[in-house]
């Protein structure tokens, strides 16, 4: 079987903050249509990794490229590359001074010079799909956390990205709102979107991932299908990490 196009490629990426190494020698290839979940302990560098992919953080070594184009936050073409990379952050990052409709159409209109009416029509379709069309004229503060994250996903999708990055988008949500956001992401995965997801929701990871990458101490410690990783972890470190999500029964 022929493999899909290599979309995103990270080769021996090194990233340090003031001499303190966060990513030591990180490599990963993402093919078109793949859904990759990145897991790892708090502080292991998952957010840093996504920020590097988007050129928000400079790297100290190695190479990150999207469809062969090197990603460099200071290069001239960075704004063009970023349009192809959709990112949703953990904190609600909608623009508070703009309505949901304005949030989702601002960049398409100003950056891609799309016609307002067309952009609004597309935004309405996407908002409908994620179930918040009735909120289009509201401001972000009038939405629940889960609704805000779905709006943020629509805003990123409006740019027609090649790949979507998700950084713990449900971490700040109340439990009953987590589901609606994860469902949106599952549907997106089903539609064939290439996705790189950082999450602590292990059952969601199992359901959505084609591949799981376990990051620890700045390197990939283990990588495999969800079945391999969750059912038969090979390394001691992965076993210990997975154990933190289980509770030993106290009843005898």
């Amino acid at each position: 079987m022929e493999r899909a196009e290599e979309l995103l490629k990270l080769e021996h990426v090194k990233k340090a903050y003031d001499g303190q190494e966060v990513l030591k020698d990180f490599s990963l290839t993402v093919h078109r249509g793949e859904v990759i979940v990145i897991v790892g302990a708090s502080g292991c560098g998952k957010s840093t990794l996504l920020r590097c992919i988007n050129g928000l953080e400079p790297i100290q070594g190695g190479r990150i490229s999207l469809q062969g184009q090197v990603i460099d936050g200071r290069a001239k073409n960075i704004a063009d590359i970023r349009q192809k990379i959709g990112m949703v952050f953990q904190s609600y990052d909608l623009f508070p001074h703009k309505t949901i409709m304005q949030n989702t159409t601002l960049a398409p209109i100003k950056v891609q010079k799309r016609i307002r009416a067309d952009a609004e029509k597309e935004a309405e379709e996407l908002l409908q799909r994620v179930g918040i069309l009735d909120k289009k004229d509201n401001y972000p503060r009038q939405l629940s956390g889960g609704q805000k994250q779905r709006a943020a996903i629509v805003r990123a999708l409006m740019m027609h990205p090649e790949i979507m990055l998700f950084d713990e988008v449900t971490a700040a949500l109340d439990p009953e709102m987590v589901r609606e956001v994860l469902d949106t992401m599952l549907e997106l995965a089903r539609s064939g979107m290439t996705m790189l997801i950082v999450t602590h929701e292990m059952s969601f990871a199992k359901a959505v991932a084609d591949r799981v990458v376990f990051l620890d101490d700045g390197v990939t410690v283990e990588e495999g299908t969800p079945e391999e990783f969750f059912e038969r972890p090979k390394t001691e470190r992965a076993k210990r990490f997975l154990h933190t999500f289980e509770f030993d029964s106290v009843k005898k």
């Binding site: 928000l56 959709g86 609600y92 990052d93 601002l106 100003k110 950056v111 503060r141 943020a152 740019m159």
Partner: protein
């Protein structure tokens, strides 16, 4: 109080009020521009310029306008740069106001979370687009209450212009009192004219603030 005297003085005060307003607004306009530039330099930590603006801000925030005006008015001619009283007044106000506006805009910029800039960039906006459509609108509306307080403060500070013989309201009142001893009428007109200038500004300011609070964003 003698209303005939008041009628007689009225044109003089009107002229003085026009002068106060003219120099006041020019000074404030430049204060805004200067303050904005300094705030951007401070916020984005532009090397060297940042230290220079820091010194400027502290120097002008911590000395009285009167002293600043004396330096410009009597000091500059000594180094071969004579300035008219008008220019001197406007420049003094712009420099003093610039230092206040810089602090106001800087704290407005600081109140906008960095993730706002980052998410704008991650949508493919150029830096200046992110600034124009996302960061500045938020920073400016956060700055509005402090900004309007600065405008009112600066308009009141114009009362020291008389010290460099600008014929502003204060100068006119003092002059008339000195000449004709009509203290009550002179002072009455002085208060009325300052109120005519400042009350509309205050009222407009609180209307704008209420609108902003109503639209108040934040999650």
């Amino acid at each position: 109080m003698d209303w005939n005297v008041i009628q007689e003085y009225l044109p003089l005060y009107k002229e003085a009020a026009v002068l106060t307003l003219r120099i006041g607004w020019i000074g404030i306009l430049f204060a805004v521009i200067l303050g904005f530039i300094c705030a951007m330099i401070q916020h984005y930590r532009v090397p060297i310029l940042r230290q220079i603006t820091k010194v400027y801000i502290e120097l002008f925030r911590n000395t009285p306008l009167l002293v600043q005006l004396f330096f410009i008015y009597f000091g500059l001619p000594k180094v071969g740069l004579p300035v008219s009283a008008d220019v001197c007044g406007a420049a003094g106000l712009a420099l003093l106001g610039g230092s206040y506006m810089a602090e106001t805009f800087r704290s407005g910029l600081e109140a906008v979370e960095t993730v706002q800039m980052e998410s704008a960039l991650s949508l493919g906006m150029k830096w200046f687009q992110a600034m124009r459509y996302v960061v500045l609108p938020q920073a400016i509306s956060i700055s509005v209450p402090a900004f309007t307080a600065n405008v009112i403060f600066l308009l009141k500070e114009t009362s020291v212009f008389s010290a460099i013989s600008l014929m502003d309201l204060m100068f006119t009142a003092k002059d008339l009192i000195g000449l004709y001893y009509k203290t009550t009428e002179s002072l009455f007109l002085l208060v009325v004219f300052y109120l005519i200038i400042l009350l509309p500004v205050s009222i407009a300011a609180s209307l704008i603030e209420r609108r902003l609070r109503y639209a108040g964003f934040g999650n």
